[in-house]
Symmetry: C3
């Protein structure tokens, strides 16, 4: 088994994703390549980091996850490979991997450096093809992480602004919308554990979720727990608080998107 997933901001209108797959198959023709997503907004490292952390664990242990949202391609930014949570990851050292390592301390972490495993001649514009893909291919063939380059300290990883921590205040919890999905569901930075912790302040009270002009009382477990067209709040498939409209688009109804504030109180 050699499963390699791809997560990029390349889109599908160009040949870049197909070319990365070719470069993987040129090393390991038996690799099973799976797309997680290629429609990350161009150069949006945070969106990629959140999606990677939300997705990888469903794959079989030992899978290799390649994430290429890499505005610094060709600069001196590092590329890292790591093992964490029973999976392997290859990503630019630009903060993308923070959402994974925040929850899964790396068992091994290296800086990819050894050109022996690269596609040569090495371009400075498409490391996805020339470094990420062939390194993933060799990793899937059993080459050990330490073969790709020297150990790299977790504390040396680039950290973006502290990733997505909701703020806990007197009597409230404040987060924001981090992603909007195709259905217009508003996915927030508040995860289910934050809500449980907050609820413990008064286990008999009702969680009250406010976003823009909308206030929702209580958490549902399914979109269909409310009538079509009604507002609903629940912990969605990412394990994060979502605000949605059953059968409709919350984003359209509220006219809001990423960055919109969400406040949770007890009532």
């Amino acid at each position: 088994m050699a499963i390699i997933t791809l997560l990029t901001d390349f889109g599908l209108a160009d040949e870049y994703v197909g070319v990365m797959k070719g470069a993987i198959l040129a090393v390991n023709p038996a690799a099973v390549i799976v797309d997680i997503c290629h429609h990350i907004p161009p150069q949006d490292v945070g969106a990629a980091g959140r999606m990677l952390a939300a997705s990888f664990a469903v794959f079989p242990a030992g899978s290799i996850h390649v994430a290429v949202v890499d505005p610094g391609v060709g600069s001196s930014r590092a590329i890292v490979a790591l093992q964490a949570g029973g999976h392997f990851f290859i990503a630019p050292d630009n903060g993308l991997i923070a959402w994974v390592v925040q929850r899964h301390r790396p068992e091994q972490l290296v800086r990819i450096h050894n050109q022996r495993w690269f596609r040569l001649p090495l371009s400075q514009t498409f490391h996805g093809r020339d470094i990420f893909a062939p390194v993933a291919g060799h990793l899937s063939l059993g080459v050990g992480l330490s073969q790709f380059g020297p150990a790299f300290g977790q504390e040396d990883l680039v950290v973006l602004a502290q990733p997505d921590q909701p703020q806990s205040g007197v009597g409230h919890l404040a987060g924001e919308v981090s992603d909007v999905d195709r259905f217009g569901n508003l996915i927030t930075t508040v995860d289910g554990r934050h809500l449980s912790d907050f609820q413990r302040r008064d286990p008999t009270a009702t969680l009250c979720i406010t976003i823009g002009s909308v206030r929702i009382m209580g958490l549902a477990s399914a979109y269909a727990d409310v009538a079509v067209g009604e507002w609903v709040a629940l912990v969605g498939s990412r394990g994060l608080l979502e605000v949605a409209v059953n059968g409709g688009s919350a984003a359209q109804r509220l006219g809001c998107g990423r960055g919109a504030g969400v406040t949770i109180t007890l009532a």
Copy 2:
């Protein structure tokens, strides 16, 4: 051989399709997963049903077709698995499967119920990941349909409004545009057999197809049977009457789309 196809309204901008694939591979890492389409308009059960019926038979017999357009996720709607026409299908019981069973009487049909085959803990927001995908994985490993739940009567399947039957009148046949493809071809609800039957009323007459202000005399067999920019009617790749402009977009030229009426007469 374990071919599993996916047909959803998830789009490709989120991680949902990739996550379903991970959940399949977690059960059967050797499954061959093929996308039919993920751009069904959100919650458009009919569009998915028509596409599934038009697509599945080209795959090898024994393939497993998973369709997730599921506005009722988390409600009491059933999920069914069936064998029909030599293929397997997994779909919510919301009418989606009607276009298949209308032509291929199920050899076996069950309600998916046995949590033994689910991904646990079971969410109420993403049954694609937690039920459809692992059940498809186990089915591809040879688990029998009856293992997934109790038999379900074909007559108990949810039926949408009678799917897509053109109306036969005195001297005419009336259907409508059901889908518009990327090329702007107008795909109708009138299939080739309807046309043959209708033609039998006067085998020497010419079929006359009218849509909006356009009247087309006779059926062609290829778009290129007419000059570039000219109107053409033919039985297309779905086996359905299509109205097209060779080298252009019929939808744009007519300014019409789904629901537009089409009338066939003999002249």
Copy 3:
């Protein structure tokens, strides 16, 4: 190993790509199918030809590349299969293959004619499903090119207007923007060898790239060689001159796209 790549203008909103994959797997269930791109603008043979030539060589030798941008489907246009540069290609004879054969003289070239390898009954609207896919499947199983039809002369291939040759003038080289990628990078018809040749006129001079109102002095090797928001010119992943804005969209900034002229001088 049986790698089959697909390059079409089918988009992903319809079932056409999935159906082609089904038709391949029906012949060879062990084929590994990889998408290069399906978002070629409808019927844009040149865009497909350029992308195919830029992509195929990264795949393992012996891969089979199927390109279906085929406005003449159902007409008398030929479909050809060839071996060139160590790879196999199947394409309509409409000029698409010109960018490949211009650099890689075919070792063998046939017109696909023998219905034995087709999916029957043969439609006149979807040769991707009925001819290209099954022929690719059989080719991947080891059927020789000569089995598919008679030899075809390279000189008999349809040629579009001479593909993409920049014009060399007194003191300048003139090309144009041929493609714009997702990042807004402007990909030109001028390849790296044209630039090297031109530079030889005065090895000590600086290449000066002018497009619209923007003039860029010298070639960089990476987007990140300039500050974010600055203009940069480099030879990109296709081996072609690109004009870009680091971290931004050159296409948006200049308000230009395909067809815009680019002029190179020495200063």
